[in-house]
């Protein structure tokens, strides 16, 4: 299967051929890019897995590419080069990240900009779309963002973009509780300072964390010409040493600005952030569940796990500790953010994403084909899917028919499904029903097992003693 992953940059395009990710670089950039990839600082970033690895394809390898691939690349004209990049196993997009991951991506961008400054290179853009995550760790993927900078130019071109796409969404999150994923889902160019200015009180506008990021740029913008201004990016021509000094100071200042909007770990209580202490499980019941799921994951030799409705991520952590690559999703950005912190701290291979499985991330971008949907990316990618303490929410709150739930699970998994059945007499089930009992009058063990067996075989079932819940291990038919 061939899919074009990026095409907006006239200097090159990235195309995916099956599991291979290949970038075509136009002739005018080939020399600089070859030189860039040899720089010690760049090699260091690649070794540290913070910058995507890139391997130039030899001529005979180019000739081995299938004709359709060669036709795409030949459209860039003669010369140039082909680079093959390591494939990031599960791509994700800023709309799916909690604030913590956006913050980490921002820091990576600044780190890279500083690392290449002394080498005479700069970044020409600073968007979170340049970053993907391997587990909890950010990796910069767009090497065409690097370019030689004019030695005497003291301007950091992507400054405004960095502010709009990293700093201001994080400032809105920290000060007003905005969800960065939702902001970046609809604002592809980020948040303008005028928008934040309008939300602030007069006193807030004068606070240090707003003054340089919001207030002054807004005041200055009002005095700028209304006509599109064509201005030299190297309008600030100074001597080279001075230019480096100014740029380095700007980047340090940006780092401090970013640190001021760091998402707070104590910020944000949400509906689900205290679930582990308010759920209907006792400690003993939870321990049973953990033991059972752990045993099944081990027996199935789960290598790629999708945890739907992960909440605190306890089960994702078990899967990761057993050596699986895990994608853990939940609709609540607070819990996803906390799981990211845990995964980073404990070096667990968990990629936590903010996704409401009842309305997952759609296809977006130009012609709805630049960023594939969550389901496009997830279908058939996992050998094990977990749906623990989830189905009653989908059945009752989202009113998804039971058969549809199993159809979704069958699409997502290639082998196993670990799912939790909740009896209608369970207190939380009853709490969700809130008088709509008639809608789910027929729901029970028999209906559950009959429906699941249309797509799955029941391998094992384990009642959670002391509760009205049963765990099922199912195998896809």
């Amino acid at each position: 299967m061939i899919s074009t992953l990026s095409f907006r940059d006239p200097d090159g395009a990235v195309t995916c051929f099956g599991d291979r990710v290949i970038r075509r670089v136009a002739a005018q950039r080939a020399f600089d890019l070859r030189e860039l990839l040899q720089l010690r600082s760049v090699q260091g970033m690649i070794s540290a897995r913070r910058l995507i690895n890139s391997r130039e394809l030899a001529l005979r390898e180019e000739e081995d590419l299938e004709p359709r691939a060669r036709a795409i690349f030949d459209s860039f004209g003669a010369g140039g080069l082909l680079l093959e990049h390591d494939r990031v196993w599960f791509p994700s997009y800023p709309a799916e990240w909690p604030a913590e991951m956006l913050y980490a991506a921002g820091h990576l961008t600044i780190d890279l900009a500083e690392a290449i400054l002394e080498e005479g290179y700069g970044l020409k853009d600073a968007t979170p779309h340049n970053v993907l995550f391997r587990g909890p760790n950010p990796v910069f993927i767009d090497i065409l963002s690097f370019d030689r900078r004019a030695p005497a130019d003291a301007t950091w071109l992507p400054y405004a973009q960095f502010m709009r796409m990293f700093v201001l969404p994080l400032l809105l999150h920290r000060e007003f509780g905005a969800k960065t994923g939702e902001l970046l889902a609809v604002r592809t160019h980020g948040v303008e300072p005028e928008e934040v200015y309008a939300r602030c009180s007069r006193a807030q506008r004068l606070l240090p964390r707003f003054l340089g990021s919001v207030t002054i740029p807004t005041w200055l913008a009002k005095h700028c010409s209304r006509q599109p201004a064509k201005q030299k990016a190297n309008g600030g021509q100074v001597d080279q040493e001075k230019a480096r000094f100014i740029l380095a100071a700007h980047l340090r200042g940006l780092r401090r600005t970013l640190q001021k909007v760091e998402p707070r770990s104590d910020l944000g209580k949400s509906i689900w952030s205290s679930y582990s202490s308010t759920s209907s499980y006792s400690a003993a019941e939870l321990e049973q569940k953990l033991q059972c799921v752990g045993r099944w994951l081990k027996d199935c030799n789960a290598k790629t796990v999708l945890d739907l409705g992960c909440n605190s991520g306890s089960f994702s952590a078990i899967a990761a500790e057993l050596g699986a690559q895990v994608v853990a999703v939940d609709a609540d950005p607070v819990v996803v953010g906390r799981l990211w912190r845990q995964a980073s701290r404990e070096k667990l291979d968990i990629l936590p994403l903010v996704v409401n499985i009842a309305s997952p991330t759609p296809r977006t971008g130009w012609r709805n084909s630049e960023c594939p949907s969550f389901l496009d990316r997830a279908t058939g990618r996992f050998d094990t899917v977990m749906m623990l303490a989830l189905i009653h929410h989908l059945l009752i709150t989202e009113r998804i028919p039971l058969a549809e739930l199993f159809d979704l699970a069958a699409d997502l998994t290639t082998e196993n499904l670990i799912i939790e059945y909740i009896d209608p007499a369970d207190p939380l089930f009853q709490a969700l029903l809130r008088g709509r009992d008639a809608l789910h009058a027929t729901f029970g063990t028999e209906l559950f097992e009959t429906t699941c067996q249309k797509r799955f075989t029941i391998l094992q079932k384990q009642p959670v003693k002391g509760s009205l819940r049963t765990l099922y291990l199912l195998q896809k038919k």
């Binding site: 700028c224 064509k230 001075k242 000094f245 700007h250």
Partner: protein, 49 residues
Amino acid sequence: MISPLAYIDPGSGFAVWQAITAAALGSIYYLRRWFVRFRKKRNSNDPNA
């Protein structure tokens, strides 16, 4: 080379703010350079240095 011509968004306060801070940093740069030179000169003139 990064293109020398860039369209600045109409009303881009960030661009102007960056230019202002760059001017301030440039002044700091010159001040620091002058101070380093002054200290070198003073040390070379001081017979006890």
